[in-house]
Every structure is written in C-alpha cells, then in structure tokens.
C-alpha cells in the first residue's frame, strides 16, 4: 500500500513540475502573431431616422475602402496593424448616441470612434471622454440643442477631434455658390429652428465680412409645406436657396418652388447627393436639374490637392462597388470615414503608440494630416479652445441629366 502512495506522490510531483515549467515557458516565449494586429474602430452612425439615407448610401464604399486599406495595413513601431470596423446604429438621437457609445466602448472594447457625423455628438462625447476614447466627429456642435448635451468644451472633452468642419463648411459652401454664380441676386439660407445658435451666428458674421448678400429663414421641425418660406425668399429677391437641413426638406423645397412656377430659383443643400435617380423621382426630373450639392469626388477637385495614392484608392472603390451593384455609389463617403481613419493612423504613427490615447491626442492637436480630402493642418486654437478642427475642400456639384457635374470649390481657411 505504501508503495502505491509513493508512486502516486511521484506522479503528482511530476505533474506539478511539468505544469510549472510549461507555464514558465508560456510566459517567456509567447507565440508570435502570424498576421496584422487588429484595432477595433467603433462607429456610432445613423442607420435609421432622417439621417439614414446618407449613412446607408455611404456604408458599402466605406467598408470597401477599409478592406483595401487593410490589405496593406499600417505600421507603428515595426508592427503591422489593421482596423476592424464595428458599427452601431445611433438613430441620430441623444439616447441612441449614448447607447451606441456604451456598446462600442464597454461591449466591444473600442478605443476609437470615427466617422461620426450626426447631431448627437455631445451625448456620444459624454461617454467617450471619461473612458479616454478618441471620438472623431464634426463641428456644428454650436447648433446642437442644449437638451442634447450642450456645446463643445476643450476642458471636459479632451478626446474629441473634429475631423470635419460643419458650420465652417456651410460658410465655405455659400462662398463656393457665390463663386459659381457671381451674378446672383441674393442667397437664401435655410435651416430648422433646431439649428439656431452660435454656429449660425458665426456663419452669418463670416458671410457679412465676405460681402455676401443673403437672407436667412428658419422653419419649425416637421414642416412639409414650404410654400410660405419660398414666397418669403421670392419677396427677398433670392434666386438661390441653400438648405442646411435634412434631405427631405431640400426635396420638399425644390419640388414646391417648381410647383409655384419659380423655375429659375436654384436649390442646393449641405449634403452630397445620395442618388440622382431618387432626386428625380421625388422632386421631378425637370425640377431636379441644376440642384446643388456637396461634392467629394477628390479626382475632380480643382483647388485642393489630394495624394494620388488616395485618389486611386477612392476611384478603385467606386469601380468595385459599380462592379458589384451596377451603380456608382455617392461620393460623400470619401469625406468622412477614410479621412478620419487616415488622421488617426498618422497620429498613431507620430505618437508611436496605438494604445495611449493621450499621446495620440497630443499628436493630433495642431498636426498636419494627409487624407482623402487633401492635406490640412488642425486649427481652431482660439475658436474652439484647441487646434482640433480639420479642413474641407467645400467642393460643389450640380445635377445635369443623370450625373453630378463639378460646379465650384472654396477650400476652408484655417481657423484662428
């Protein structure tokens, strides 16, 4: 019996020794990764609600771009990295934004949220900042209703980056329209009362300084009948109206001005055209002609230089999507996800880390980045309290037949 006890004791000792040795080996010699290291890139974006048309249209080309980007990957400290995009619907509501940010950060473990562009930025930022997660979004926060979370604050939101200017782009868009139509009589500007605030006051002030003749109208949210507003524009002598609202309002205005016989009144909007066919079906084939929209086809930019490598990538994406669907996607995607991603990558490379968001933010502030929308230096130290606002080409196009045709361009000046 004693003999069996001895054998058992020896066997147990052997198992323990082998276990300790194996564990030690594991600690000292980890297996080398066979492929690129994956970084999770969160996206809190509107797949539902009034902003959904733009998001839905831009999603397939953005994913195609990311696939192409990942084929090469990017290097930091000699290691190769790839991004994995994780998207959550934020419905463009504050509640949706908060829930999406929590899911991305605490559920999926994202340290970066990029490609964000809707109005719920303060709600998203309220979750990302305490978690030290970098949020790449756009300005326009001055227009965010106070009930949605208030204004940008460099002290409480140190991890927010404005990869796109918004109200600054409204100003540049208006200037691009004036450049395109120098004989205009008066430019009408229109937004929902939700957008009233400091942002628009700044746009108005900048347009005043530039000597632009304009007339501003606001409409209550939910308006479908724009006839009274169109009459007011007509009375004010406006021959062009720029809508800084949702796509439905532009459709309604463009259609109703045509129904009123005001065929010479041009209509534009602050977003890119989602689908020309949709505009023709809803507004009317004739009424849609000449409509003005933002234009992100970087291969057509006349005043903004874009790295040929990125131009080629964007064109390849367009071709790939065309090959899959038989339709070229809208170009709006070029100005958001890819641009945010490239800012982030270059900041990581400058900072020499993919984990330390403080170091990455330090590289972003005042940094110069080469993206799909050109090379811009982060500005806005005085205006926003931190140099974290990227630039924009503010290129425009018009609908001619079934196509978008380049109209004009007014690259944004760096902010003080």
């Amino acid at each position: 019996m004693k003999k069996w006890y001895n054998i058992l004791a020896i066997l147990l000792t052997m198992v323990i020794v082998v276990g300790i040795v194996a564990t030690g080996c594991a600690k000292t010699g980890p297996p080398q990764p066979t492929g690129p290291i994956i970084i999770k890139l969160g996206a809190s974006v509107p797949f539902s609600g009034p902003a959904a048309p733009w998001q839905l249209a831009g999603d397939p080309p953005w994913k195609e771009f990311l696939k192409m980007f990942n084929e090469e990957g990017f290097q930091v400290n000699g290691k190769t990295y790839n991004f994995e995009s994780i998207e959550v619907d934020d419905q463009n509501t504050p509640e949706g934004g908060t829930a999406a940010a929590k899911q991305l950060i605490f559920g999926d473990g994202c340290k970066f949220i990029a490609g964000h562009w809707t109005w719920n930025f303060p709600a998203v930022a309220a979750v990302t900042n305490p978690a030290k997660v970098i949020l790449m979004t756009r300005t326009g926060n001055e227009a965010v209703p106070a009930s949605w979370g208030g204004l940008y604050d460099p002290q409480t939101m140190p991890y927010v980056v404005f990869g796109n200017p918004s109200h600054e782009q409204f100003t540049s868009d208006c200037l691009a329209i004036v450049d395109a139509y120098p004989n205009y009589q008066r430019l009408g500007i229109m937004d929902s009362t939700q957008g009233m605030g400091a942002g628009w006051a700044k746009v108005d002030s900048d347009l005043d300084k530039a000597g632009v003749r304009y007339h501003h109208e606001w409409f209550p949210p939910g308006t479908t009948d724009f006839t009274p507003f169109i009459s007011r524009y007509k009375d004010a002598g406006c021959d062009i109206v720029y809508v800084a609202g949702w796509i439905s309002e532009t459709w309604a205005l463009a259609k109703q001005r045509w129904q009123m016989g005001l065929k010479d009144m041009k209509v534009g909007h602050s977003g890119p055209f989602v689908d020309i066919g949709m505009y023709k079906a809803i507004v009317g084939a004739d009424a849609a002609q000449g409509m003005i929209g933002q234009y992100w086809a970087n291969w057509d930019f006349k005043k903004t230089k874009v790295n040929p490598k990125y131009v080629a990538m964007c064109q390849q994406v367009q071709q790939n999507i065309f090959a899959e669907t038989g339709k070229f996607p809208y170009t709006g995607w070029i100005g958001w996800g890819p641009s945010h991603l490239l800012i982030l990558v270059q900041a990581m490379q400058k900072a020499g880390t993919v984990d330390d968001t403080d170091a990455i933010m330090q590289a972003i502030r005042g940094g110069t980045f080469d993206t799909t929308t050109g090379t811009w230096t982060m500005s806005g130290a005085q205006t926003y309290g931190s140099p974290i606002v990227f630039g924009t080409p503010s290129a425009l196009c018009t609908i001619q037949g079934d196509k978008e045709v380049y109209l004009s361009e007014h690259p944004m000046q760096p902010l003080p």
Binding site: P220, F229, W251, A252, Q259, M260
Partner: protein
C-alpha cells in the same frame, strides 16, 4: 393681403384638413371616439397609391379609389377587432384611446419595415404648372382642390339623400332610438369607420404627388385635423369643414408673415378661440 400663391397654398392645406377632419367627425359622431390612428391611415393611403402607380402601373384616379377601398377595409378591421371589443361595457373610451394611440406606432413601424424609411415621391403624376400671370399653380394642387370638392359633394349626397345617410344621421343623433327603428348601429359603426378611414387614405393619396411619402407623414395632418374639428365644434360636420378652412389658411398666411414663429402664433390663436368659445364654432354649448 397675402400673395395669391399663399392663398392657394392655404386652400390646398384646408382641403387636406377638411377631408381628414370630416372622416374623424363621422367616426366620433357614431362611435363616440377620437381615432388617433387617423393620420396613419392617411400615410397608408399615400403608400397604396404610390405602389399602385409605380409597381402595378394603375392610373392615378383609379389608384385613389383603390387606396380608399383598401384602407377603408383596414379601418373596418380595426373597428371590428379592436375598437368594438374595447368600446364595450367594462372597458370604454380610455381603452379605445390607448389602443388607437398604440396603433400609431404599430402602423408606422409596420410601414417602415414594409416600405422602408427613405422618402418616396410621385413627381411623375400630373406634372406641370398652370401659369396665371403673376403666379402659378401646379396641376397636382389643382387636383387636390377638385378632389376635395367632389368628395364633399358625394358625402353631402350620401348623408342627405340616401337611406344609408339617413341611418348614419339617425345613429349619430340617438343610437338607442335608431336601433328601435331597426337600424343596426353595429353595422353603421363599421361602415362609418370604413368611410372615415377611406377619406383619410384618399387625402393622403391625393397629397402623395404634392409632398414626399414616408411612414411618419401622417402625424402633422392628424394634429391639424384634430384642431380643425375642435375649432369647428366636436361632432359637427359643418364645423369640420369650417375649422379645416380656418386652420389651412391661418397656417399658410401666418407662416408667410411671421416665418418660423408661425406655430407659436397659430396655436396661441387656437387657444384664444377655445377660450372664447370652448364648444367650437358650430358645437353645442358645453353645460
């Protein structure tokens, strides 16, 4: 004096509110309930006409009728399986109100899933503009005005010159007495719900080429129609028409003069009207 295009716009707005409010009042007169889902029948009517034209290639006037028939039948189903069961002893008005409120979100959600959330349009229906010198009117808006006139004439004839109309009026005035004379109030209720919902659907259908179509398009017309019948006097068909006209014109004219403050001014006026005359313009005095 506001410009002619604003007056025409006011007339078009009035037409929608009149048609919708008329249906709401009919239902209220017989069933004694405010159907909160009325705006969603308006929305569904627009979708029916959209798909009738774009998917089946059915001409617009026929699509209008189809929209009224289909949504009228849907309204009857709602009456039979929801309203009638909850408007019974032991339940009552509150239950019906909650049920029809719930149906708002049900129908909007269902429409969103079935038809998508993206706006749709019928710009190809009755395109063109009639030039009248200093102003122009689209054929689509002219169609709305003509349609409303025709519907109102038909409703007048049905209610005043037919046996069905007599039964509806009798049931509206005194349902117990009407049933003693052999009128099936249950059947009349079903019919009236069908007519009310068909009117809402056809209002949505005739407006489909003028505005854009989406699952949420019924909310604002519903609120304004409700206001129209409150201003006109709850239960009064004449009041629904007059309330609709007042509200339609006020909405356009006030927006023209005060821009984005229009809703504030408009609803303030509505409150003043109700404070001065709580029963509405054509309603019976409140005791």
């Amino acid at each position: 004096m506001p410009p002619a295009e604003i007056l025409i716009d006011g007339l078009v707005q009035s037409c929608i509110y009149i048609t919708m409010a008329f249906g709401m009042v009919l239902v209220f007169s017989i069933l004694g309930i405010l159907n909160w889902t009325h705006g969603q029948f308006y929305m569904l009517g627009a979708f029916v006409v959209y798909y009738s034209i774009t998917a089946a290639g059915i001409p617009f006037p026929l699509s209008l009728l189809i929209s009224g028939i289909i949504i009228g039948a849907l309204g009857m189903l709602v009456e039979r399986f929801v309203i009638e069961r909850l408007n019974a002893p032991g339940y009552g008005m509150m239950y019906v109100s909650v049920a029809t409120l719930a149906l708002i979100f049900f129908f909007e959600g269902a429409a969103g899933m079935a038809f998508g959330l993206m706006d749709k349009g019928l710009a190809t229906v009755l395109p063109g503009v009639l030039n009248l010198g200093s102003f122009s009117v689209s054929y689509q808006k002219i169609a709305v005005i003509i349609f409303t006139l025709v519907v109102m004439i038909i409703m007048y004839v049905v209610l005043n010159r037919t046996k069905v109309g007599l039964a509806i009026r009798a049931a509206a005035q005194e349902s117990v007495a009407a049933s003693l004379y052999g009128i099936s109030v249950k059947r009349v209720s079903l019919l009236v719900m069908g007519i009310g919902c068909a009117l809402a659907a056809m209002a949505g259908a005739i407006m489909a080429p003028v505005y854009t179509i989406n699952p949420f398009m019924g909310r604002i017309p519903m609120i304004f129609s409700l206001l129209a019948i409150i201003i006109g006097g709850l239960g009064s068909l004449t009041g629904a028409i007059v309330g609709g006209i007042i509200l339609g014109f006020l909405n356009s004219v006030i927006a023209y003069y005060v821009s984005y403050l229009s809703e504030f001014v408009l609803f303030m006026l509505v409150i003043i009207i109700l404070l001065v005359r709580p029963q509405g313009l054509f309603g019976a005095p409140i005791k």
